[in-house]
Each structure stands twice: as structure tokens, then as C-alpha cells.
Symmetry: C2
Subunit: 319 residues, 2 copies
Amino acid sequence: LITGGLGFLGSNLALSLCRLGAEVTVIDSFLPNHGANPFNIAEFKSEIKLIRGDIRNRSLLNKHIAANDFLFNIAAQTSHTDSIEHPLLDAQINNLGQLQILEACRHKNPDIRLIYCSTRAIYGKSDKKNIDEETIPNPLDIYSVNKLAGEYYHKIYAQVRNLNATILRVANGYGPRAQMRGPSFGILNWFIRLALDNEEIKIFGDGKQLRDYVYVDDIVQAFLAVGAQNDLKAEVLNIGSGKGLPLIKIVQEIIRISGSGKIKYVPWPENNKKIDVGDFIADIRQIRAKTNWNATTPLNQGLRDTIHFYRTNKKRYWS
Amino acid sequence: LITGGLGFLGSNLALSLCRLGAEVTVIDSFLPNHGANPFNIAEFKSEIKLIRGDIRNRSLLNKHIAANDFLFNIAAQTSHTDSIEHPLLDAQINNLGQLQILEACRHKNPDIRLIYCSTRAIYGKSDKKNIDEETIPNPLDIYSVNKLAGEYYHKIYAQVRNLNATILRVANGYGPRAQMRGPSFGILNWFIRLALDNEEIKIFGDGKQLRDYVYVDDIVQAFLAVGAQNDLKAEVLNIGSGKGLPLIKIVQEIIRISGSGKIKYVPWPENNKKIDVGDFIADIRQIRAKTNWNATTPLNQGLRDTIHFYRTNKKRYWS
């Protein structure tokens, strides 16, 4: 069972699970302006059971959680900027929705293997160069606060209700099957769209902030590796490439591979500056030590495959 | 304006403000099994404007937040054990309700001086002996997670929306005007009831865990001192006595002053053990450095005044 399974990470995970022979059910609410795109799972359309429904709907959760052995819990309101403008909606989905999922697991399937998708955004701004899991959280927007609350909920249900839950903090992902209609859902994918459209790519400031970009196939492999293990209850693990690259270098690489697009430097807009997190590099030693996973896709190859995918399927993602 | 103003801390604060000549409005939802007790503010009944209403009601908040200069934001679902049994209700009040308050401030009165009442429970179990504000949070129940989310919300609204908000993390309070119908709302007050009824006081384990108990008048003075300052935006400050006392010593003192009650040692119940936080002593150097406040009530005097209050007003609190 994958919540949010028509979105970026959820759909890539669903396809990988199908290729491995799993029976896959996807719940997706088609939240407006979010990533749900039926084309994402077209390759396995007849194999995947697709449920249009919301994680705030308890009876729906009860039914499907009871019927599955694994739950990849990925559904969320995912926009940082929307969470500042519409904080109530964010809390309804990312707090109440998560509690509904956990209550459904508790009552209907306490043995389900549960993987919660969190985000490196919970660290916010930090003075540390490499961010390990012991770094003090410093969420800078409502989305990040509520994702952090979601982590604690899962940890508490693991400790108090004995659910077999693991929490994964995912760095900046990029790759095929993302929402490409706006910049709120992954800046790297958005830059790829601008490059393919031969538009200006606006860089705030000097573009030298370091970010940890991880290819979506590597993230999927991490979810599979963690899900397959039963000794990670209540653990919190970073997922990232473990390497920091200046944003500007990546943009130059996107323009080189695409053969189009151009850079424009602009000053930081006031509101973005307030919630920007500065440099970020994930320390991924924990997940490496506890599973056999590692991020293996070189940035060049990830960007090439991503650009090829969107060039081929432009009409499925641009509008 | 005081949300939760008929409860333990809120009503003591309301009375102090009235004595200082403030115009006081109290909002209280009379949440079942919580602290709302109209007798708490009987002394200033005709001066205090009492609104029966819920912090989930936005139009009510809009109206009263627009009309006031100070907001002491104390309303909450406050039971640790209830939050584990009814997590959705906790999130509706402590997450969505808090966001409603902050949105009302943002839109109707962005200059209001806002003090958010948080709790030492956000620290959970820690290895540190004295807990300062930089201690990594480790909430062990849903209530504590959601109070921590409430802190971050206030901090973010201070940073992004420029609200003049300060967050206070309050240690274990005791004193007059608390909910005395059950043990969930302050163990020390509950022990006082048991002693006055000449009942057994059950001590889990050896009772040697250290706790920081602070008299409610001292907490009220801290809220007033912090509220009166305008240079504490987005700050997080501990409130406590700054001293750790073994629970068993305090219980012996309660029995001595009451002249009744007896101690019974019992093993830790499984569920309580899972969410117990062990030793806790607040480091209060920050609030001392930034205001002229200090906890001044000796435990003996606080216990004497508390026992006298409940002995005199037993019929108002026992049922």
C-alpha cells in the first residue's frame, strides 16, 4: 500500500514494486496542484489497484491497511510556500491525516511494516556542515513543522503501540514523474523544465549554496531496502547522496545536457530568504551501516535520464 | 485576552491581571474533563469578560484578538494519557486551534503581544541533568508533540509574519485553582487531594525521580514579566524553580502539612513507564538573564497555601 502513490516518489516506488512482483495498491487524493498524475503508473496500469481517496478518510484507510503487509506512507501536502499561506490545510493533511493512518494501523493491522516519508526540511538552517540524524530540528515553515510532528507520531506509535515503523528523512529528490507545473515541488526538476523550454533560470543570490540532490531511483531503492528489514523499528534515517554540490554547478550541467536555457542572477526575494535553509549535505552513514543501500546514480546520468524522460513525455507533465 | 482562562494557570493569571488593573477577557471552551471552573475567577466575576468559546472558532478569535493588546495563549488539550487515547482531538485543538489563533493575529492584530504556554514535556527523557532550552526535544506522547509543533508555529509566525510572540516552557506547576478530579492534570495537586481525603498515595517505583515543581504564582509572575517586555520575539524560555526534588520527599511534606494521607509503593504500570520522562530540572538562567523574574516561593509555603486553599474550597473542586 502506497499513500500518495500517484505522485513523484510514490509512483516511482509503485513501478519498482510491480517490477519485483509485488501486489500494489495506491491511494491518492488528487490534491489540487500536487503531483498526482495517472500517466506516472501507466506502465503497470492493469496491475496496480488505484484508489482515489484521502488519508483523512478513516474507513478507507481501515479497509486498505487491513488488507496489506507493507505501508509506504508518502501522502502529504508538500509545498513549503503553500503551508505558509494555507497552514490549516497543511495541518489537516500532515497532522490529522497521519494520525488517522496510525490509528488505522493500530486497530486494523498492528503488524504492518510502516515506512514514513519525512524530509530534510525538518533540519532547517543548521551550522553543521554534514547533517546527521542527531542534529537539532529547526523547521522554518509550517510544512516542515508538521512533517516533524508526523515523525514523532510514528516514533510514539512504535514505542507505545508497538507498530513496526521507520522514518526516512529524504534530501532534495529529482527525476522522472514529478509535478512540473511549478517551482514549489523540487527546484531541480523545475530548472529542467525551464531549460527544456529555453527559458531563463533565475538563481537567487550567487547560487553557491550547497545542496544534496538524490536521484529518485536511489530514493526508491532506499525505501525498498529499509522496508525489507525488520530491525529498524522507531529508527530515523537520512536518505541523500551524501555529497554537496553548489546549485549553480548543477544548473550549468542541466543547460549543457539540455542544450538550451540560460542563467539569470537575481537578488533573494524577501519571503524566500526567510525560509531558505542555506547549505545542506546529508550524513548518510546510518542508513549505510544499517542496510546495504547506497546512492549509486551519478548526477550526470540522473540528469540525462530525467531530461530525456521529460523531453519524451512533455505533454504529460507541462500542463 | 487569555485563552483557557478558566483553567489552572489561566485563571490565576486572570486574577493577577485584574489586581494590576488590566481589562481582562477570558475565552474558555469548557472542554470536558479539563480545568474550566467558573469559581476560579469568582473574586473578579464582574470585572472579567468571560466568553464561552473554542479556539477552533475562527470568527470568535478574530473578534477578540482584534480587541486586545496582549494574548496569553494557554488553551490546550492538556492530558498526556488522553492524547494517546484520542490523538485526533489533541491535534484538532493543539495544532489546528493554534494555527487559527496565529492566523487571527496575523490578519486582525499583527501587533498584539503574544505569549504561548508550552511545557517541559517537549524535552521528554534526556540524559542532561539540567535541561536548558538548547536540549534536543524528545516528546514521548502526542500531547507533547503537538505542544512542540505549537512552539514552532509561534516561532515561524514571529519570523515570517513578524508577530511579537514568545514561547514559555513551563515545568510541573502546582497550586490553587487546578483541576482536582483526576491525576492527569498535575500529579502534585492530585497527591494533595489524596492526602486531604486521607487516602493512599501510590508512588510508582522508588519515588526518587527528581522533578522541578513550581508554584503557580511564580509561573504567573513569569508570564507577566515576559509579557511586559518587547525584546523577546521568537524567544523560547524555560520556567521552573530551577531545583530538583525527589517526588517522595514532596509527598512526605504534603502528608506532614495535611496531617493525613499515606504512601503506598507500587511497581510502574507498563503504559505509564513508556511515557515517563525520568528526572527533570529546568535550567532557568535564560529567563533570569532576560527578565527580572525568579521563582521565589519556597516549596513549604506553596504547599501550605495550596492545601489551605483546597481544604477551604473542597466542594468547588472535588466533584
